[in-house]
Structures are given as structure tokens and as C-alpha cells.
Symmetry: C2
Subunit: 230 residues, 2 copies
């Protein structure tokens, strides 16, 4: 008997702790906007609602705080993170650095191109159905697939976190439709360049894309969050 193909099964068998499952629930609730930025997550309320002890819940909170989705204020509790304008700017600085850096080095049609194609067609589907939430998701998926081209687990995780933070920004914006819509065409353009194996050109297009998105986002964000004290 060999143990060859069993490595994959290990993840299935790998039971997770209650704290991690709780964290997963809260994470998706936050990312879907059920808990909005600034909302307080009281230990008592959430603990009884999910039927877990304070110990376990606090472990989950720690996990999410470290992912920057929650902020922990001593003796005050945990809150869904509210990003400042500086945060948004920093997020885009990282995006430019990483996304463009990854794309730039590409010289032939990359292996993970299918994921990019899938993300674009997801976006078109969402546009037809007027599903703006789905359009935003497809857009993030596109960029996640972009960094996946680096085939680096740590880079994937980093950008996963960055994009999760960006979702927090979208949730406090007035009109996500108008924001996400125009970028579908630009994703398509970048995809086309990559299908030609022209990484540098794609990186250049991406840089312009990100610069525009940041500017627009910062402008829109400044309105919704008038004075958050730095």
C-alpha cells in the first residue's frame, strides 16, 4: 500500500477548531456586509447567538483582528474595522507594488490564465443580471487570479487580506455600481495583453487602472467618511 495520493485528503480530514469555524462565519458576515464597519461585536450577544463560550469567541476575535477585519480596543471590545483614507492609499500602494510586480515578469501565456478568463466572464454575467454585488466579487476574483500567477502562497495570502480590507471600503460607499462597472472592460484589456504574453504592457495598463481606481475611491470615500480623526 502506498501513501501517494493521500496528502490531498488530509485537508478534508483536518478538522478545524470551533474558534476557527466561528472566525470563518464572522469573516463571511463581515465580507458580505452584514456587520458594517464600525459595528461593535459584543461578546455576550454573539457568544450566545452562536452558542459558544467567551473563551472560544475571543480566540475567533483574535484571529480576525490579526487579519485586520476587526480592531480590538482594550476594555471596549472589538469593532468591525473602519478604514481611514490613509489605509485606502496604503492598500493601493501594496496593490500596485504586488500586482504590477507579478504581471510585469510574465513573458509568455501564463499557466493560471483560465482563472482570469473565468473571472472576466463572471463579471459579464453579473453585468447582464445587474448584480452589482456579484460584479464587485468578480472584479476581486480577477485580481486574486492575477496575483496567483506568481504561484506564491504567501503572496496569495497577503493579497487575499488586502482585498478583504478593500471590501470593507466598498461597504460604506454609496453607489458600488458606478464604481465597479467601468473596470470590467479594463480587466478584459489586461487579460488580452496577457493572452499575448505581453506582461510589461499588461503591468502598465494595470498601473493606470489602479491609479484611477484609487483616485476615484479616495474621492468617494472622503464624502462618506467626513471626519474619522486621522
Amino acid at each position: 500500500m502506498t501513501t501517494e495520493g493521500l496528502a490531498a485528503d488530509r485537508l478534508l480530514l483536518n478538522r478545524t477548531s470551533t474558534a476557527e469555524r466561528v472566525a470563518a462565519i464572522l469573516r463571511s458576515r463581515i465580507s458580505e456586509g452584514y456587520f458594517l464597519p464600525g459595528a461593535r461585536l459584543a461578546e455576550d450577544t454573539i457568544g450566545t447567538a452562536l452558542g459558544v463560550s467567551r473563551n472560544t469567541l475571543r480566540e475567533a476575535f483574535r484571529l480576525l483582528s490579526h487579519e485586520r477585519l476587526l480592531v480590538h480596543e482594550l476594555n471596549r471590545g472589538v469593532f468591525v474595522r473602519t478604514l481611514s483614507i490613509e489605509d485606502v492609499i496604503d492598500l493601493y500602494r501594496v496593490r500596485v507594488l504586488v500586482e504590477c510586480g507579478v504581471v510585469r515578469t510574465i513573458t509568455e501565456v501564463p499557466r493560471g490564465i483560465d482563472q482570469l478568463v473565468a473571472a472576466v466572464s463572471d463579471g459579464e454575467e453579473a453585468l447582464r443580471r445587474q448584480g452589482w454585488q456579484a460584479l464587485g466579487t468578480a472584479n476581486l476574483k480577477f485580481h486574486e487570479a492575477l496575483v496567483a500567477l506568481a504561484e506564491s502562497p504567501r503572496t496569495d495570502e497577503l493579497m487575499g487580506g488586502v482585498l478583504a480590507e478593500l471590501r470593507l471600503v466598498f461597504h460604506v460607499m454609496a453607489d458600488p455600481k458606478r464604481f465597479h462597472e467601468p473596470y470590467l472592460a479594463r480587466n478584459k484589456e489586461i487579460l488580452a495583453l496577457l493572452q499575448q504574453g505581453d506582461g510589461p504592457a499588461a503591468a502598465e495598463a494595470l498601473a493606470v487602472y489602479l491609479r484611477d481606481a484609487e483616485e476615484q475611491l479616495v474621492k468617494a470615500y472622503r464624502d462618506t467618511q467626513p471626519s474619522t480623526f486621522a
Copy 2:
């Protein structure tokens, strides 16, 4: 009364929880090699040694697990991370992506140049005194200062973690002296290029540097860690 210069004081006043202080202690112990990769940190032992409850200690463990310094195995406890060769390769992939990406965009003498100068002179000082541990630290400091040129908190944090992971690799290596020594001159060379404001050239030198370091490290690491099962 203005609230201008109080932002800095906030960190001082910002009391940390016991869990964070415990995490800080363990973090430095790990980074200085007191706990070597693979070592198990038992809740009971460490809890009584530091005089904190299991709950608090577990919170500290969570923090460090998220920083990848510890791995948490369900019902088995936490262990100091043992990096695989794949990890080392991935770490260098991230380093190339981020460090070179940051340096490459520089077109004039950057603001944070002093830190780089300081790191190089730290390295020379360590070399004179034959302090190999200090030489390694100075080297990491140099690269930390390099990414600091991006002036992006998230990038700083990311690379802080990456370099902390690399320290784990160094601790299981036989002869850190021979490894660190030759890179001091190359740091100096990169610094010189940056002092001329030539980012692209510095990025190129850095890329070669990192490629060499990775190769050497992987080779040395493969010997000390013969078969860690993937």
C-alpha cells in the same frame, strides 16, 4: 489646546494586554533561538513559567501562529515552525517581488537613506567584532530599511514577517558566519547605487543578490534538514 503631537504618545499610553506581552516575550525568544524550530510549547509548562493562565497563553499562541512563527496542530499543541525548502523558496519569491519592486521605482536619493547607511555601518561594526549574530541582524535591518523606502505600513509589516521567518532558517543552519559575511559588500554596493538615485540598477543588483542568497541557502538547508516530508 491642540491635539497635534499626541499621536506618538498614544502608543506609549496604549496599554497592551497580557496576551500581547506574552506573545512579545515568546516572539523574541524564538527569534533569538532559545526555542528552536520543531520545539513544542506546552501550555502547562510555559503557562506556569510565565505565570499566566491557559486562556491568556492560548491567545498569545494564536497571535504567533498567525505570524507563522508557531504552528498549531489540533489537540497536539503548538510548535516552533520548521520551514520546508518550499517555504524558503517562497520567502525569496516574495523578497524579490517586494524588495526589487520597491527599489526599482526610485529615481532620486530617497528619504529613508539614513537607515540604510546605519545598517551598513552596523554590519561593518559587527564584522570587526566578529559578531556573527549581530552581522545577521544588521543584514536584516538593511533589507527592512530597503522596503521602508516604500513608506507603506502594510509592506513593512509583511516584510517584517518574512524576515522573521527567515531567521528561523538561519537558526538551524550550521555556519551562519560564512553565510552572512559576503553580503555586506553587496549591501554597500546597492546603497551606493541608491545614493546616486539609480533605482533600476539597484533593483538589478538586488535581484542577483537575492538569487544567489536563495541558492546558497537552499543548498545549505537541504543538508541540515534531510527529509522533512514535503
